[in-house]
């Protein structure tokens, strides 16, 4: 019995990756949930908005790298991130002007908005591929590990190694900072309060003199910042490839819905629920269990519930269960 090694193995392969992945999902889901709460539609273009923001950041990163600018041990992409956010803000404002505003003026039904956003998705998808190409792009530099598996093993003398990547650390720290900023903004500032008022009751908000176009604009700006940050963190931690952002849409929506659409707190909780379920259900528990149980009863099988191919199926399943039994999500959001 060796609880320490078991815990290290578990952290290395489950807890750390899941926390990083959960943070990325949470940031993505926050964007979706804000759009749903304030503009009142499911924005399918969110994945590709993330891809677009990340793409601008990647291009800026390359520019900085070419100029010889770097952040030392931190990835240069962090320096390029504000530019990515600006680029993405410009994009969503243009899309809103050119597309969504027309339907808003017509008071179109949410389902029409959803289909429109699907159209926007495909256009963005095309634009991103056209500019940067469909392939994997590398833009990570700086120190790769905060602590690598080998150093950890040498330091502690344990059999199991614990790797903690710089990108995972940055992801978690950034997510905490961004979420704190967002909640401060929504709860403490005048604009934030007017956004929440608009979300709760549109007519009442209009009567009390809130300018709807301004609320919509601010929402888009925040969403652009969230989407770009999530996209860049995901790209840094994993890899930047336009198509994966489109695939990411499913777990992001699952997170937002599980948490309760329109509820920012729920989006965060949902992100972690989905991330942990995906990772734990598809993890092979053999190693961890072998450390914990006495040798005689050590398992010979892999103790893997589902093959990793079914990762996305897990998000689907949770989504279905939540929609069937608790349509408003874990935290009280809006019924879909």
């Amino acid at each position: 019995m060796d609880f320490l090694n078991a815990f290290i193995a578990l952290s290395n392969f489950v807890i750390i990756p899941a926390v990083a992945y959960g943070s990325q999902l949470a940031l993505g889901a926050l964007g979706v949930t804000l759009i749903y709460g304030i503009l009142r539609f499911s924005n399918f273009a969110h994945g590709d908005t993330m891809a677009f923001g990340a793409m601008v950041t990647v291009l800026m990163t390359w520019f900085f790298q070419a100029q010889g600018v770097s952040l030392g041990p931190l990835p240069t992409a962090l320096l390029a991130l504000p530019f990515g956010i600006l680029g993405c803000m410009l994009l969503v404002l243009v899309t809103d002007r050119a597309v969504y505003r027309f339907y808003r003026a017509q008071k179109a039904k949410p389902v029409i908005f959803v289909i429109v956003s699907l159209g926007v998705t495909f256009i963005l998808n095309g634009i991103v591929r056209f500019i940067i190409g469909p392939d994997d792009q590398r833009f990570l530099d700086g120190e790769r590990f905060i602590i690598s598996a080998r150093t950890f093993r040498e330091m502690t003398g344990l059999r199991e190694g614990l790797a903690f990547k710089t990108t995972q650390g940055i992801t978690i720290v950034t997510a905490v900072v961004v979420v704190a900023l967002l909640f401060w903004f929504l709860n403490r500032t005048r604009t934030g309060k007017s956004m929440r008022a608009y979300s709760d009751n549109e007519d009442l908000a209009l009567l009390s003199g809130i300018n709807p176009e301004r609320v919509v604009m601010v929402t888009w700006l925040i969403v652009a910042a969230l989407a770009t940050t999530a996209g860049v963190l995901y790209g840094l931690d994993k890899s930047f490839k336009p198509f994966t952002y489109f695939q990411l849409l499913l777990p992001i929506f699952a997170s937002a819905i599980v948490g309760g659409l329109g509820n920012p707190l729920g989006a965060i909780a949902g992100g972690f629920v989905i991330a942990f379920s995906e990772v734990t259900v598809t993890y092979a528990w053999k190693k961890v269990v072998t450390y914990i149980v006495p040798e005689e009863v050590a398992p010979s099988g892999l103790l893997q519930l589902l093959s990793t191919d079914y990762k996305f199926a897990v998000s689907f399943l949770i989504l279905l269960i939540v929609l069937l039994f608790k349509p408003t999500g874990l935290f009280k959001g809006k019924a879909v």
Binding site: N12, G161, T282, Y283, T308
Partner: protein, 396 residues
């Protein structure tokens, strides 16, 4: 616009039939490979290799009655069965005498079933390696100059044994190629007493392989064998393994051998090893010299493509016919011993020997030796990554 299109098509038709009438004897060979799709970067040199052999035969003036060999390129998309079948039918309609192709295993099976067998056309594939194609019912119309992955499985198992590896974790890219190769490696390694702790598929094109790595790491093993693609999931798997410290040495089958892998992974890959179909020696050197700067003759499956084209023409010469039914049975004869060994650049000499009724043993660029149902016995180049580069350490 429509009229102009019609007019130009009509003009082209007239022109091409006029051209066809101009030559007394013509041999048309289809080059049906994936000019688009996942292996498009390999298709260019492959086609150039095949066309080099045809040019050589035409220039020699000794094939049949000084026949001119005309290549006809067509695309398979590598994974597009519909496209390959319709392009195969188009080649038949244009009157080809043989088809070099297909390239990827899946479409090769489709072309064989839907085009070659119904039309009695002979196919020689330079690059389809799926073991499934060894046992497929092909009416003796299908040959390949690439070895089956079943053979690579044997070679890999031997390599592992030579290095004293007793247990491996095995992951493969989830398609015909990956599955076939993984099965071959698993069964061969078990046969010689090795232990395979896990066989898990991975999908290409994902951003994150940490979940897959969790399962592989949990199963454990001396090394991780990655039967994938070097620019795709294979790279992702290796990075995930190194990031989490789960494995440090990797077994790299053919799909993982290429300059981009050590370049992308960096020094951590040093010490990993594998093998790729290919041969050293005289044949490939001659082909490289012949190709010059026109194309890269050492690009994967390019020597095999040259050999596929050469085999067609040699068999035609031996049968003195361009009819697939007549020259088809001659392919094994010209490819194997006994007879005078023929290397690239010696097609003219081979045509002379065959005309006089002699025997040849075509060696070609890839050391062709056709076994069993008409597939290459397979020489493998053993690779080890040293100082961030793939170094050839021997042949098997």
């Amino acid at each position: 616009m429509k009229k102009m299109l019609l007019a130009s098509t009509a003009a082209a038709l007239v022109a091409s039939s006029a051209l066809a009438g101009g030559h007394a004897k013509e041999v048309k060979l289809g080059v049906l490979i994936g000019f688009t799709g996942p292996i498009e970067s390999l298709a260019g040199p492959m086609a150039s290799g095949a066309e080099l052999a045809m040019q050589e035969a035409t220039d020699s003036g000794k094939l049949l009655d000084a026949a001119k060999v005309i290549p006809m390129r067509a695309d398979t998309g590598c994974i597009d069965n519909g496209l390959s079948t319709s392009n195969g039918e188009r080649l038949i309609a244009e009157g080809v005498h043989g088809i070099i192709g297909g390239d990827c295993s899946g479409v090769t099976g489709a072309i064989l079933q839907n085009v070659a067998i119904p039309n009695g056309m002979v196919m020689i594939s330079p690059s389809a390696t799926s073991p499934g194609l060894s046992t497929v019912e092909d009416n003796d119309l299908f040959f390949r100059t690439a070895p089956s992955d079943a053979r690579e499985g044997e070679v890999m198992a031997e390599v592992l044994q030579d290095r004293g590896v007793t247990s491996i974790a095995l992951t493969y890219t989830n398609n015909d190629y990956g599955k076939g190769l993984a099965d071959a490696i698993e069964s061969n390694f078990k046969k010689i007493g090795g232990e395979v702790t896990i066989v898990a598929a991975h999908e290409d094109g994902k951003a994150d392989y940490s979940a897959e790595m969790g399962a592989l790491a949990s199963a454990g093993g001396d090394i991780l064998v990655v039967a994938g693609y070097l620019d795709q999931g294979g790279l992702g798997i290796i990075n995930a393994a190194l990031d989490s410290g789960a494995f440090e040495t990797f077994g790299l089958p053919g799909g993982m051998i290429g300059d981009s892998l050590p370049a992308n992974v960096g020094s951590a890959l040093n010490g990993s090893y594998g093998q790729i179909a290919g041969s050293g020696g005289e044949g490939i050197e001659k082909l490289t010299a012949m190709a010059g700067d026109a194309f890269d003759a050492t690009s994967p499956y390019t020597p095999e493509s040259y050999d596929a084209a050469a085999l067609f023409m040699l068999a035609m010469q031996a049968a003195d016919s361009t009819d697939p039914a007549e020259y088809g049975p001659k392919i094994l004869e010209v490819a194997n011993a006994p007879g005078e060994k023929i290397y690239p650049g010696e097609l003219g000499k081979a045509f002379d020997i065959l005309r006089e009724g002699g025997d040849i043993d075509y060696v070609g660029a890839s050391a062709v030796e056709l076994i069993g149902p008409g597939e290459s016995a397979g020489t493998y180049r053993l690779i080890e990554v040293k100082d961030g580069e793939n170094a050839t350490i021997g042949f098997k």
